[in-house]
């Protein structure tokens, strides 16, 4: 009775096996999101928590990750705040060790933290180059090194690295940022190959122009110009990024690895 009604409602589909409505599985999963204090990272943390994952919200500033974790906990989710500077390798290693003592395994790692220090190459200082490369690229290596071992043991892991459209096509004034974001692609594809035998997947999401604090500083003229390069004609929302990250973090995405997903309104095709 039940089944025939279901079959009727899908009368154009022929089922030769059970088809389950898509519902993402996050049972007992623990996720760690860097740069979770605001913008895209905050949206990712909130979406993962809404699906049932326990989320460790990392940001440099204790107040901002604390506020996000509080908001998640108050709305019925589970979250923990963790204030760490991702560019500080000693601090990251110590944080990972403490986390693994408490939780045994962090199942999902979302490397989202990133900064910009824009300047034309001729005027770009070595300090600004180093700072952006360390914060946006080396930090990803520190977190992965710190958290990967239990994933290999558990034969489960989801690593999602947030790159940028700038890492794919470059952008005047962002040599350091573009280099770091492009570096994530080769890094992630290598992880995908190294850990595939342990059912750990690694993927990249490359946002385009997304409405966050990072892009709020752009002048109205730059914004207008940017919109003209976006076929869908608008800026992205943090939630647009968070939704695909959530899917890639779920159990259901297990056959996808080493891929780069552009979420940019069609800027790069």
């Amino acid at each position: 009775m039940q089944r025939s009604r279901l079959a009727n409602s899908y009368k154009f589909l022929h089922f030769d096996r059970f088809v389950f409505p898509m519902k993402l599985t996050f049972e007992n999963r623990i996720a760690l999101v860097t740069g979770a204090g605001r913008g895209i990272g905050r949206a990712i943390a909130e979406h993962l928590a809404a699906e049932g994952a326990m989320v460790i919200c990392v940001s440099k500033n204790a107040d901002s990750c604390g506020a996000v974790a509080d908001a998640i906990n108050q709305s019925g989710g589970k979250a923990q705040a963790l204030a760490v500077d991702v560019a500080d390798k000693v601090a990251v290693a110590a944080a990972c060790e403490a986390l693994l003592t408490e939780h045994t395994c962090i199942d999902i790692l979302v490397n989202n933290a990133g900064i910009t220090k824009d300047n034309l190459l001729i005027r770009m200082s070595e300090e600004d180059w180093d700072l952006v490369l360390t914060t946006n690229l080396s930090s990803v290596f520190y977190w992965t090194k710190g958290l990967i071992r239990p994933m290999t043991k558990k034969r489960f892991g989801r690593i999602i690295n947030i790159s940028s459209v700038v890492g794919l096509i470059g952008n005047a004034g962002q040599a350091n940022y573009a280099a770091a974001k492009a570096g994530l692609l080769g890094y992630t594809k290598t992880l995908a190959r190294e850990f595939a035998s342990r059912a750990i997947t690694a993927n990249v999401v490359a946002p385009g122009f997304t409405a966050t604090d990072m892009t709020a500083g752009l002048s109205p003229e730059v914004m207008e110009m940017a919109k003209k390069t976006i076929p869908l004609g608008r800026m992205g929302e943090a939630a647009d990024i968070a939704r695909i990250v959530t899917y890639l973090a779920s159990e259901e995405s297990g056959y996808i690895t080493g891929q780069v997903f552009s979420v940019d309104g069609g800027m790069v095709m």
């Binding site: 071992r149 290999t152 043991k153 190294e194 850990f195 035998s197 342990r198």
Partner: protein, 84 residues
Amino acid sequence: MSDLSIEERVKRIIVNQLNVNEEQVVPTAHFLNDLGADSLDTVELVMAFEEEFKAELQGKEIPETDAEKLMTVGDINAYITSKM
């Protein structure tokens, strides 16, 4: 503390980690060539030995430079014994 000998505990871990038969785990057996391990398996094996022999290793990790030389069952037995 386990009543089993070092050799027996090593064998048990290898059988579990690499899904091999006990008879295959002889002192001359090479993890990669004889027991079908891949390079990640060898890393996981070392992690498992560190856990099992925490007391014998005084809670220390096996350094990378030592770990890469531990390629046979006999190597592991000798290494753990030497640290006691």
